[in-house]
């Protein structure tokens, strides 16, 4: 309390004006007079009395100063002084200040940007209440660790578990919306009734589904998104109870889901419409052995750990295995925390970027530090004079640190601005693959981070120059005009050069490895030729979907014919089921004809299935190895045929000719004859396909598809088209042609196969571009830095060089001398950087494809390149130093 009062009084004392000064003078004066009077009374002469009083009382001015220091808060006043002085100094050398601030702002801005991504994606909690309780449910089965769930299994899980407060499952679907303006394709999601309750997302209008509405055969109801509500219903509040027509069927709207419920990618995509699972008229829904592409979301009961939940799931899946061995043998469950599911894949990428951008900032700091050190030479006299006048070393360091903190603060503000602008621009370039991208932005964490980073940067780059400068012995500094310090200074500069080279090399190697890995990936043969091929999804007009199978087949055939006749189109094929590199995959089980049907699914063989037309092989340029591919005569009336790929042949017919062999497909129990073998296509992506457990591929002709399959109009029906000329022209022509067929005919997601492949590498490319940018900035900063240092040191030695040359040194000797002086620390730094990189690139291991994290070519090549850059940066100042006229250099003293 007492201290607080004193502090307050002193704060007020800082603003004490002239009146307070006068009062002090008056008080001291009266004290002196009284003392003199006392001395007079003691019998001294007037002169002696005054002398004695002054001796005893001490210096008038020192006393006043001691009093003033007590009156206010001297450290605060000094800070104010330092700040004012620092600003004046920085204003006086605008060139230095601009370069220092810009360099740092670049580093701080880049750090802020990457941190704001890390903050939004990795650190912030998901936008759901108590999101840490949310887990994603998968089924674990032989070919898939994170497989899709069978609906009957899910229903049992939901009923029998002890560890979840709620559980839901859902599955994406495309719907054609008709009867409300031009037909359009809507993204939809089938879900069980507790889906939004589990996430604790409340509809902004109306209600969610009841358990009764979830049953097959219940009256069709639908939840719509806020977006669709605005677009189609003008945000009218009386939308509840109205109907919309989806796939020719009327659904009653019961609620509106707010736009704040949205995710890009990941497991919970935002949709236009949501409907109860029972509305999905798919007979496989009740088949315990079918996965149906479902994923589950569940909320743990409060206090339940994921281990307890796993044990609970284990118990239930074992029970189901006993009850339904045919379908559930070997089937387990896999729980993944929702956040892990969403961001687990990108975590290593983002952490690598964070480290890389930190290194860039370090280089920026080193650059500014060496700039400050060089500049402080010019200020040697200034500090010597201050020291001579009584400034303590601490005081000088404080002054210099204040200056660096001012620079850092300015850079921080500028960096923050750059980052805000940069993040806005960068978000547009971000791959869709980056989850939670829409949550990226400024918040308190980011601001605190920027402030801390700026402060730290200020201390890091200000400390060494401040220490070195304040070490100066004022006497020699004044005497030698600043040259006495060069010894200490050179050592510091050498350390800077070495550090910059080392940091830059680490970044270059990181970027180099990613680039090499990406080129390797690009050069991987996907098994087909993506050039001049595009693909799109489509649905037939709704009325057709409910007609006879033959009518539907005829419609598909007509669609194909009309498309083939479109200008620019060379060949067309249906592509139902799996499509390479597209996330669309479909599987079937089979057994060898002539053998007994396996007792349960775990005894079955699996294959990826492609249901295509006769042109597919030709237009995708997949090589035919043996036998034949389909032709127009393979239709519903001819014998069932199939074509397999290399991987299939190798796995199931290792030592025999597969042609003529027969297998039985589980779906429909159809027996088919293998008539051909084609090359393997990388279904699962350029990098991951090799290690995927399920690689066997099976092609069937779409004209032999069963009635039930044709009639169900499966989601994920696509066409692939080989075109002439530009993709843009062809896709426009295709859209026109399809528009002329029927205004209820919808096509969507048109994409070239090339872009499909490049999208599959979006994340790697994103990291590579950023790492490459950071490495380029690092290289630039480092080469400017080393050039600056060497030029400065050589400049300082002009006179010495003059003397050497006057004594007979050749120009080449001088060049060699200056060059060596720069190259020694640079080479040391390069070696240190290579060692550090060898340790650090280990963390890149999982992101690299076909390149070792210590690839000798990358290491030696980039080290050599950096060394050459260093030579160039040293050579320019070396040549300038050697061109000095000895007489002129000596005269300039």
């Amino acid at each position: 309390m007492r201290k607080l009062r004193a502090l307050w009084m002193r704060l007020r004392g800082m603003f004490a004006g002239a009146a307070a000064e006068d009062e002090l003078s008056a008080e001291l004066e009266s004290h002196l007079q009284m003392h003199i009077e006392g001395n007079l009374r003691a019998g001294m002469t007037a002169e002696e009395a005054r002398r004695q009083a002054l001796i005893q009382l001490g210096g008038f001015e020192q006393s006043k100063q001691a009093y003033r220091e007590r009156r206010g808060l001297p450290w605060l006043e000094t800070l104010g002084q330092d700040l004012r002085f620092g600003m004046r100094v920085l204003r006086k050398s605008p060139g230095f200040t601009t370069i220092a601030v810009l360099t740092l702002a670049l580093g701080i801005g880049a750090n802020t940007t990457i941190f704001s991504i890390v903050n939004a994606v990795l650190l912030n909690p998901l936008p759901f209440p108590r999101a840490e309780q949310l887990v994603v449910l998968h089924e674990r089965k032989p070919n898939f660790d994170h497989g899709s769930i069978s609906y009957p299994n899910f229903l049992d899980w939901r009923q029998d578990n002890h560890t979840f407060s709620s559980m839901a499952t859902s599955r994406g679907y495309y719907f054609s919306l008709t009867g409300a303006g031009p037909a359009e394709q809507l993204d939809g999601q089938f879900m069980t009734s507790d889906f939004f309750e589990t996430l604790q997302v409340k509809p902004m209008l109306g209600r969610t589904f009841t358990r009764a509405e979830e049953q097959p055969g219940a009256a069709p109801v639908v939840l719509i998104s806020q977006g669709l509500w605005q677009r189609k219903f003008g945000s009218s509040p009386d939308v509840l109870g109205k109907g919309i027509s989806l796939e020719g069927r009327a659904y009653t709207i019961v609620g509106v889901i707010p736009a704040s419920f949205h995710f890009s990618g990941g497991i919970l995509p935002s949709r236009d419409v949501y409907m109860p699972m029972g509305q999905w008229a798919n007979p496989s829904l009740t088949d315990r052995a079918s996965g149906m592409g479902m994923r589950g979301i569940a909320r743990l009961k409060p206090g339940v750990t994921i281990e307890q939940a796993n044990a609970d799931m284990e118990r239930m899946t074992r029970d189901l295995e006993l009850a339904y061995p045919a379908a559930d043998k070997g089937i387990g469950a896999k729980l993944v925390p929702l956040k892990e599911q969403m961001v687990g894949d990108v975590r290593p990428f983002l952490l690598v970027l964070l480290v890389a951008v930190g290194l860039v900032l370090l280089i920026a700091c080193v650059n500014v530090a060496s700039l400050m050190l060089a500049r402080s030479t010019g200020r040697m006299r200034e500090f010597a004079v201050r020291t001579a006048l009584g400034a303590s070393r601490k005081r000088v360091i404080r002054q210099l640190l204040t200056e660096s903190l001012l620079i850092a603060a300015a850079a921080g503000v500028l960096g923050l601005g750059l980052s805000v602008a940069g993040t806005h621009a960068g978000l547009k370039l971000l791959p869709e693959a980056l989850p939670r991208g829409e949550e990226i932005g400024m918040d308190l964490h980011v601001l605190l981070f920027t402030m801390t980073v700026s402060l730290l940067a200020g201390v890091v780059f200000g400390w060494m120059p401040a220490l070195k400068t304040s070490q100066a012995d004022p006497q020699s500094a004044l005497k030698e005009g600043g040259r006495g310090m060069s010894g200490i200074r050179h050592r510091a500069q050498s350390i800077f050069v070495a550090a910059e080279m080392a940091l830059a090399l680490v970044l270059l190697i990181g970027a180099g490895l990613m680039l090499r890995s990406l080129t390797r990936l690009w050069n991987v043969d996907p098994g087909f030729d993506p050039h001049q091929v595009l693909t799109f999804g489509y649905t037939l007009p709704p009325p057709l979907l409910h007609s006879s199978p033959d009518a539907v087949r005829a419609a598909y055939r007509e669609f194909e014919e009309r498309l083939t006749a479109t200008p620019g189109v060379r060949a067309v094929s249906q592509s139902w089921g799996s499509l390479p590199m597209s996330d669309e995959d479909d599987e079937d089980m089979f057994w060898m004809a002539g053998q007994l049907k396996p007792a349960d699914d775990s005894g079955m063989n699996w294959a990826l299935t492609y249901v295509v037309g006769p042109n597919y092989l030709k237009l995708m340029k997949i090589p035919l190895r043996r036998g034949r591919f389909f032709n127009a005569h393979d239709d519903i009336r001819s014998p069932m045929v199939a074509v397999i790929d290399d991987a299939f042949a190798h796995k199931f017919f290792p030592n025999e000719d597969p042609i003529g062999k027969r297998i039985v497909l589980k779906s429909g129990a159809r027996e088919v004859e293998i008539v051909g073998v084609v090359g393997h296509v990388k279904q699962w992506g350029l990098d991951t396909d090799d290690t995927y457990p399920l690689r066997a591929e099976l092609y069937s002709p779409w004209m032999q598809a069963q009635d039930s399959f044709v009639q169900r109009a499966p989601s994920g029906i696509s066409a692939v088209v080989q075109f002439n000329g530009s993709a843009a022209n062809s896709s426009a022509a295709i859209r026109r042609a399809i528009g002329q067929m029927s205004n209820e005919q919808i096509i969507y997601d048109m994409q070239t196969m090339e872009s499909l492949i490049s999208d599959s590498l979006a994340q790697e490319r994103f990291v590579m571009i950023l790492l490459g940018t950071f490495a380029a900035v690092a290289l630039l900063l480092a080469s400017v830095g080393i050039y600056g240092v060497i030029a400065y040191v050589a400049g300082q030695r002009t006179q010495e060089i003059g003397v050497r040359m006057a004594l007979g040194a050749q120009r080449t000797d001088v060049v060699r001398m200056v060059l060596l002086e720069g190259m020694r620390p640079a080479l040391f730094g390069i070696v240190a950087g290579a060692v550090a990189a060898a340790g650090l690139t280990h963390f890149l291991m999982k992101m690299l494809y076909g390149v070792s994290p210590t690839d000798p070519l990358i290491f030696s090549g980039l080290a050599l390149m950096l060394a050459l850059v260093a030579v160039a940066a040293c050579y320019l100042p070396a040549r300038r130093a050697a061109s000095v006229e000895p007489m002129q250099a000596l005269r300039s003293e």
């Binding site: 004193a6 009084m9 008056a26 008080e27 001291l28 009266s30 004290h31």
Partner: protein
Amino acid sequence: MGEKADVWQGTLALMVLKTLETMGAQHGYGIARRIEQVSDNQLSLNYGTLYPALLKLEQEGAIASEWGVSENNRKAKFYKLTRAGRKQLEREAKGWEQTTAIVARFLSPAEEA
């Protein structure tokens, strides 16, 4: 040097408070004189020590000041003890007595056995 000054400042504050308690309101010169006399001229105060100490006590609220006229008709600033100051004096005097008693016990050889 900083540490010694602090100890000195602490003791000086105590002496100033005691002086004001004994003598009532008093100006700086009077305080200094009194301290010198009581210390049998072993202590000598200069402005640079006394006035910052007075200021500190005033900032902490232990004493208050007011301009007045001295016995010799000279304008002078008079300091007097506040209630808080009286309490502070009591507390610090007790503390000081305890400290010196303990230190004295350590230093006196007779107590050893």
